[in-house]
Symmetry: C2
Subunit: 482 residues, 2 copies
């Protein structure tokens, strides 16, 4: 029997527990086919020396590998690798997904996002970048009313139609009239949130090898939803009233398939596109036959005055695919969003959705419908705006106090984000990791941008008021120390 050679130690300084590092190391060796079935591991006492850890840590790691069915303890004969099928398969992913996953890991920003996703579930971490409503803003009492209402309305919870619940689509077609969007229920597709909307669009109607124009910076840069379908992103810079139209024109070529834009309370910069620019953009896109995805996730979160109408409201040519959602304004966990567009495109996307997951949760669809239909959504939004306004005020006040000498920023008119620009060119990755160690989670600007930048996306929506102020103060100290 083949005895394995180990030439590696876990990292004491890593935030990953030692036993997990060891288990992952062994899994990788097996998964890579480097350690084959039948190979024998050194006895626990030797492993503890080799790895430089306590024996109990070794045992913890081996127990996990046993539970995974990868190794087997055979008493005095030691520990033997008995299986590698699934692990082996996991290391031989399909071509497309290998690209999908790998392209993520190779880019430094994804590593940052992985850490963000991981640390979000740690206790005692202050989340200064999270683009989500704080649990303390959740309208719990109203939700009880909604529950009571729908529990009387739901007679069964079966599959919904390919485009989603007709009841919800009817309500949405009324609701969006508020934004001067005229549409019929048959031109609306219910989706499980905006990410799925983008996923469906990129898989169903875009050609691999084509290019999507996006604002520079843009939230979309932190995802791989287009790239995973073989579509390239090209960044178009912005000025204070939105994306630069001349630069769109300069970047058009025969590979350009569409423009993705967040005209209202842009993520991450908070920019609002002016009415004038909206009109010109729509004209430009019509002239150039450039379809537009308008991501309107933040529209309801205006703080000073209602924003200009959506591009979609003036779209007489079916050139705009409009995306809305309840994730930012009510509850991300509902996983309910919608796409409004030409019926043929909506049907195509609905068809693909049915082949993907048979539609969004009917329960969530009932709840979304009830929130809007009952009028409680409107009432809740009014109080939410007040809450977000005080949060914005607190954040801006703290910035004034602790960041005036080291950064500049915008005053967002809505949405969640302040786009903090540092004055000195510090190492932003170092800053990110330094913050993590100090219990502060930030979203560094580089995950959203095409170029190097010295920005931080601060969100005033998530952390508690106390944490927000305390965290920002601490952040300024960390920056000054670097």
């Amino acid at each position: 029997m083949n005895m394995l050679n180990i030439n590696w130690k876990p990292d004491n300084k890593s935030s990953t527990p030692l036993y997990r590092q060891i288990a992952d190391y062994i899994k990788e060796k097996i998964g890579n086919g480097e350690w084959t079935v039948g190979s024998k591991l050194p006895v626990q006492r030797d492993l503890s020396k080799i790895f430089g850890v306590n024996r109990s840590t070794v045992i913890e790691a081996l127990d996990e590998l046993k539970a995974d069915g990868l190794i087997e303890g055979r008493g005095k004969k030691g520990t033997v690798i008995i299986n590698n099928t699934w692990s082996l398969m996991a290391s031989l992913p399909s071509q497309n997904w290998e690209h999908y996953i790998k392209s993520g890991i190779q880019q430094p920003n994804l590593h940052t996002i992985q850490i963000i996703n991981k640390l979000e579930y740690r206790d005692n971490i202050i989340r200064l970048g999270t683009g989500e409503l704080s649990p303390e803003l959740f309208p719990k009492e109203m939700m009880k009313k909604i529950f009571a209402n729908i529990s009387n309305k739901i007679n069964s919870l079966g599959y919904e139609r390919p485009k989603g619940s007709l009841y919800l689509r009817k309500i949405l077609s009324q609701y969006v009239k508020k934004f001067h969007i005229n549409t019929s229920p048959s031109s609306i597709l219910i989706v499980s949130g905006s990410l799925q909307a983008l996923q469906l669009i990129s898989m169903s109607i875009l050609k691999p090898g084509s290019t999507v124009l996006v604002e520079k910076p843009s939230y979309i840069k932190s995802l791989h939803v287009f790239e995973s379908s073989g579509i390239n992103l090209r960044g178009i810079s912005m000025d204070k009233d939105g994306i630069r139209l001349n630069e769109i024109l300069r970047n058009l070529d025969n590979r350009t398939s569409l423009l993705y834009t967040i005209p209202t309370f842009h993520n991450p910069t908070g920019t609002v596109m002016s009415q004038h620019k909206r009109d010109n953009l729509l004209n430009l896109c019509m002239q150039e036959r450039l379809p537009v995805i308008e991501d309107d996730a933040y529209r309801e979160l205006w703080l000073d005055e209602t924003p200009p109408d959506a591009l979609k409201s003036k779209d007489r040519n079916g050139i705009v695919l409009y995306m809305g959602t309840l994730s930012k304004s009510l509850a991300a966990g509902l996983r309910i969003g919608w796409i409004i567009g030409p019926e043929s495109v909506i049907e195509r996307l609905g068809d693909v959705k049915m082949q993907t997951d048979y539609g969004a949760s009917s329960l969530s669809q009932y709840m979304a419908a009830e929130w809007i239909e009952s009028g409680l959504y409107e009432i809740y939004l009014e109080s939410l705006r007040k809450n977000l306004k005080s949060r914005r005020r607190a954040a801006l006040k703290t910035l004034e106090k602790h960041f005036s000498d080291i950064a500049s920023w915008n005053i967002p008119a809505g949405g969640f984000y302040i786009w903090l620009k540092l004055k000195s060119k510090i190492n932003m990755e170092k800053l990110f990791y330094s913050c993590c160690k100090n219990g502060i989670l930030i979203n560094p600007g580089y995950i959203y941008d095409f170029n190097t930048n010295y920005n931080i996306r601060i969100s005033y929506s998530y952390a508690s008021m106390y944490d927000l102020q305390f965290g920002l103060k601490k952040l300024s100290k960390i920056i000054k120390d670097l």
Copy 2:
């Protein structure tokens, strides 16, 4: 300006309304690039002659095209095509999805499924094939209790962790002990139903060009979830206690990537794999290093006695990926299922899920957890079994009375399905369409099979008791008339 030439008439005999046929025809011409922007349509009076329909029908069709932004009426100057962007894009899908969608349309079975999906929302149609619980079996009163309970428990509805709600995963790890499956919450992934589970598996861990072995016939044959990732299905025939092991061995080659099986209350045949065969199958798969997907959607729906334990319960090597769901036993509209498997595979699948839709509805996850945790699920299942038992009895009695001379069938020990085998070789597609015309929706066996067959999947779960008996009687008459 280019005046268009039309050489086509809508089909009076089709079930599709005339105006829709006309609108679709014009959309297709524009979408295909055959009719370009700027082209002029004949005036309404001429169109009405060309198509052989009333002018009001023409107007209805043109109004739809206007709403889609495809044409514009310019007073006396007639109607002009003004746009084709989205439609054009919809006709140029990405390579992968063109294959995905096209491979569906080319296969006659998908056309049948499209019709099934469409007719399911018609009033007055008797659905004899639907694999879903009847709305009348929905536990409405219990659901009210569940709503009351969770409305007190939900403090916010944010995003869940990559593998899904830890609370639900803990409850599931307890729940599956009932089936002698031992697993920790970290080896469970919550998915939006079984279709998504299969989608994630096929995208994340299978190689394009590889082969998946499945029972012949199998439910999976009616989907395109594996084929859309470039994976081929190979059918393995069954005998009365499940899939043939010798035939698995004969069909193994270096392209075989895994076995997909429904050992318990198989869909569509209702077969239950014996304990003896389960043991042998697991041994065979371990010897041959052939991973298994065990689809256990119907386990809770036993009618006579509890079925043999899941394959997963004896899997000491992490060779089985186990799929469970609430869709068949409680509510399809919850869109909640789960995968249990080696942690590394589960993490891989969870990663891909997060990149697809940020997880399943948190609301549905709370509800699923509450059903199981409260014990109401168990109580409900007992009464559900009684209801399904009377439905089975009624179906079998009607079959005895009206099908003894024309068909044979199994007596299912659980699940939803009776696999009716006709004695004479009639044209099954003709039968399907003939049933549709007579207000009866059946699931013909050919959508599930690799070979021609003369079977019908009868489901006693969906139609009302009256419809079930009336519909079956009518079906026997239609068959005898063919």
